[in-house]
């Protein structure tokens, strides 16, 4: 299964960053045609992203393109560049309803046919950035078999909720985080936590990473390359967690070979959820 801990934003109008983002080894790069690009540069950025998608350096990294909303004058043009350029994933910003995903899906299918890509190859991510999106998260997450993740975007969401970031335990994001996570898990897809805007505040970033990790998010959207390694280190299991996970898998294997339904380890019952957790821990090691 593909690990999605880090999705690194790369401004679509910046050739220097488009051609070097791979060196930071994020799990996914997200070439941005939306907020990072001024209206008068949208046409040029669209062509840069179209060609950057073909760079061999990104062969082993998931390539996501964030398009503008489909009801803007840019959205469909962005989508055309993304699908024809061979993007692995299209990220739709400010998604408020399942209907927007279904509309996106129909355009993607049409473009795939037109340019000869296998229909269904392009996957989708919905960014949730409003109260409506949070309330509709379940129907959005389950709107299409192409959906691979939903991402919470904090800045616009908090504006829509008439509040702002507080730092610390961030109670203002708790409901949205829990809603998005439940929707993702119900749909069997990944969930990305909000981006952290202060790129010079490692302590604050890591505090937020711990919250996201503890809640169960697969990872975060990242706005600066230096956050990639910090995030990957924080998501990597500790040596103690790793050793325990290995022992759990070994104990479960022993039980299976000897026809035992359950087995205990250090006095604790090893049942399917414990085994699943151990597999997740080991999976994070192999993703690192």
């Amino acid at each position: 299964m593909k690990s999605r801990r880090s999705m690194l934003f790369v401004p679509g109008d910046n050739p220097a960053m488009l051609s070097t983002a791979f060196v930071y080894k994020p799990d996914s790069v997200m070439f941005d045609l939306e907020d990072a690009v001024s209206p008068r540069e949208k046409d040029s950025a669209r062509l840069l992203v179209f060609h950057a998608l073909a760079l061999p350096a990104y062969r082993d990294i998931e390539r996501v393109v964030r398009i503008n909303r489909l009801d803007s004058e840019y959205g469909l043009k962005d989508l055309e560049a993304a699908v024809r350029g061979g993007a692995d994933v299209v990220r739709l910003p400010k998604t408020d309803s399942a209907g927007e995903i279904q509309e996106l899906e129909s355009h993607v299918a049409r473009l795939e046919k037109e340019c000869g890509r296998p229909v269904g190859e392009t996957r989708l991510i919905a960014a949730i950035e409003s109260a409506s999106g949070v309330v509709n998260a379940v129907t959005i997450a389950t709107a299409s078999p192409r959906m691979i993740a939903i991402a919470l975007a904090g800045f616009d969401y908090l504006v829509s909720m008439q509040t702002r970031r507080s730092g610390g335990s961030e109670p203002e994001l708790f409901y949205a985080r829990a809603s998005v996570l439940h929707a993702a898990r119900m749909a069997g897809i990944d969930a990305f936590d909000v981006a952290y805007g202060d790129v010079n505040d490692d302590e604050g970033f890591l505090r937020e990473v711990e919250i996201a990790k503890q809640l169960g998010f697969n990872g975060k959207s990242l706005i600066h390359p230096r956050q990639v390694d910090l995030l990957h280190r924080a998501y990597a299991p500790t040596q103690k967690e790793l050793e325990y996970a290995k022992r759990v898998i070994a104990a479960a294997g022993y039980a299976q070979r000897n026809g035992q339904g359950v087995v205990s380890l250090d006095g604790k019952m090893i049942d399917p959820p414990v085994i699943k957790e151990a597999e997740l821990v080991l999976g994070r090691v192999y993703a690192s």
Binding site: P15, L18, S19, S44, L47, L48, F50, H51, R84, C115
Partner: protein
């Protein structure tokens, strides 16, 4: 595609290039300026010429101020400048590949 007005695309930032196009009714004139002209001048000119040919541009003046751009960025910026200079909003993606 025909260049009917002056247009610019790109920047003078590192790894980018600035492309200026303007109408020229007699010839296709390509001017390349680059800090790495000795090493990569021919390659830059080749990418520019190929990109223009794919867009069926055979007349016009195209001035490149290169700042160490890779081929993909050269293609994209030349295409953007020509599209802006042609006044066209329609993109033939087959010509962009």
């Amino acid at each position: 595609m025909r260049i009917i007005k002056q247009a610019v695309a790109g920047t003078l930032e590192s790894s980018d290039l600035l492309v200026k196009v303007e109408p020229n009714d007699s010839v296709l004139d390509i001017v390349v300026r680059s800090e790495v002209i000795k090493q990569f001048g021919k390659q830059i000119r080749r990418v520019v010429a190929e990109t223009l040919a794919r867009m069926d541009v055979d007349q016009g003046t195209v001035v490149i101020e290169d700042k160490g751009a890779l081929d993909y960025a050269i293609r994209a910026r030349v295409q953007a400048a020509v599209l802006r200079g042609s006044g066209s909003d329609e993109l033939n993606w087959g010509q962009m590949s």
